[in-house]
Amino acid sequence: MPFATGRVFMFALLSLFSFFILMSLQLAKKTRVNVRPIPALDSLHECVGRAVELGRPVHWTTGYGSAMHGGGGLLSPALISGLAIFTHIARLCAQMGAELYATFCVAELMPPAMQAVREIYSVEGKEELFKSQNFIYFSPSQFAYATGVISFMETQQVATNILCGQLQDECILLAETGATIGAVQVGGGGQYAYLMITCQYLLIGEEFYTAAAYLSQDQAQLGSIRGQDFGKITVIFLFLGLSILLMLGIDLTGVFKI
């Protein structure tokens, strides 16, 4: 049997959830999907607007990345999601005329971010506003990057600070500096406790990963969120069902070991 032991049931779960998501991607083209409002994402417009009013820049950063994937030449899902939020902000900045800065710790994130923003600016007809020197790479070292971002934020006095990506220990340094210079902050994907107390808006857990679909307002992508919901309901019932069966003396937990 070439199937890896202990992973058969996992594969079944993966296939089931993927099936849900793919099905709802297809079905959503026919039926409307209503997604509950996520305040942090709805606030982005207002945050960029505030920066325009104050005449100070908008700043976006992803944090150090993950310990496993950050240094290995890979874009982890959290970074991809952060990038999707960033392109939305870039569009808002192009439309409203705010100055946009981005700082990086993960080198392989910089070229796609820069080119995506370049495309957005040219589609919005604001090509002259695009500045490649606003994309600042500090270093792949966690704290070297953090010091760089701190002094950047202090010298530029950013008005809106968007911390979306994979923030590790440096989270408190960035968020607290942002709070002391009076920036409006949106946080997502990181040490939630510190983001919770320093940021005005917070994206928790799955909210952060669905941000891209939510912001796109594309029916197919919104549909995939419904697929994820089916997945969650399945998890709840699977969990309840197996627990109750176990209580009744029927041990089905062996399926996890197949």
């Binding site: 496993m68 982890s76 991809i80 796609p112 500090f138 070292s141 928790i204 197996l242 209580m247 996890f256």
Partner: protein, 231 residues
């Protein structure tokens, strides 16, 4: 007197000077830090390329050419006409990164969690029964909080209550994050404090304090003069 310890002391005080305010000394150490960190990682990366891609290639292993070509494609970001070519190496990063993320998430975040959560809820020990029920409710309510597409206000009050309950569980979890992380942070702080106060670096502290006091009084005087001028 150990020169290296003195340098370490100067570095520490230089970084800590940020606590007083943003100042040139901190900027100098920040610049040194960024440069040395970048240099270290870049030298490491270059050596990796030389040993893992260049040596196999020079031995005649032609498959080593592919990653080098892919890597070289990254530089097309600087060429306007063929800029789209950099997307191919990026596609490698995205494809592998997403796939590793997906399979890791399914294994660690979902599969292992469900397996560990399934326990017979009612056991002989009443406290454990109580704990199991709390874990059950917590797990379900936190998951319910993340249900997006069922419109919560109109359809069901149960879902609404459950998802509110989920927020309280999250807050308790965030609190644990603060409490657990602070031990490591204090260890970092303790290491530097010991360096400054236990070794020869202690002679640097009065100098640092003197500089800060001098700066403080100077700024005050200047401010006083400015207000007098205005008056």
């Amino acid at each position: 007197m150990n020169v290296e310890i003195l340098i370490a002391g100067v570095c520490t005080l230089g970084v800590w000077s940020y606590l007083y305010k943003m100042n040139p000394v901190f900027r100098v150490f920040e610049s040194i830090f960024i440069a040395t960190a970048m240099g270290t990682s870049f030298a490491f990366a270059l050596n990796y390329v030389i040993t893992n891609a260049w040596y196999p290639l020079s031995k005649g292993n032609m498959i080593g050419l592919i990653p080098l070509l892919l890597g070289a494609m990254c530089f097309f970001t600087f060429v306007k006409k063929y800029r789209y070519l950099y997307r191919i190496p990026i596609a490698f990063c995205v494809g592998i990164g997403t796939a590793l993320g997906m399979r890791g998430a399914i294994q660690v975040n979902l599969f292992d969690q469900i397996r560990a959560t399934i326990t017979p809820i009612i056991v002989s020990d009443p406290l454990n029964t109580f704990n199991n029920i709390i874990i059950l409710f917590g797990f379900i309510s936190v998951l319910t909080y993340f249900i997006f597409t069922i419109r919560q206000r109109t359809t069901s009050k149960t879902i609404m209550t459950l998802s509110n309950l989920g927020r309280y569980f999250m807050m308790a979890g965030f609190g644990c994050e603060v409490g657990q992380g602070f031990l490591t942070r204090m260890a970092y702080f303790n290491g530097r404090l010991q360096l400054l106060e236990r070794t020869d670096a202690i002679y640097l502290i009065p100098i640092a304090i003197a500089i800060v006091i001098a700066d403080f009084t100077l700024v005050r005087q200047r401010r006083g003069k400015a207000s007098q001028d205005r008056a």
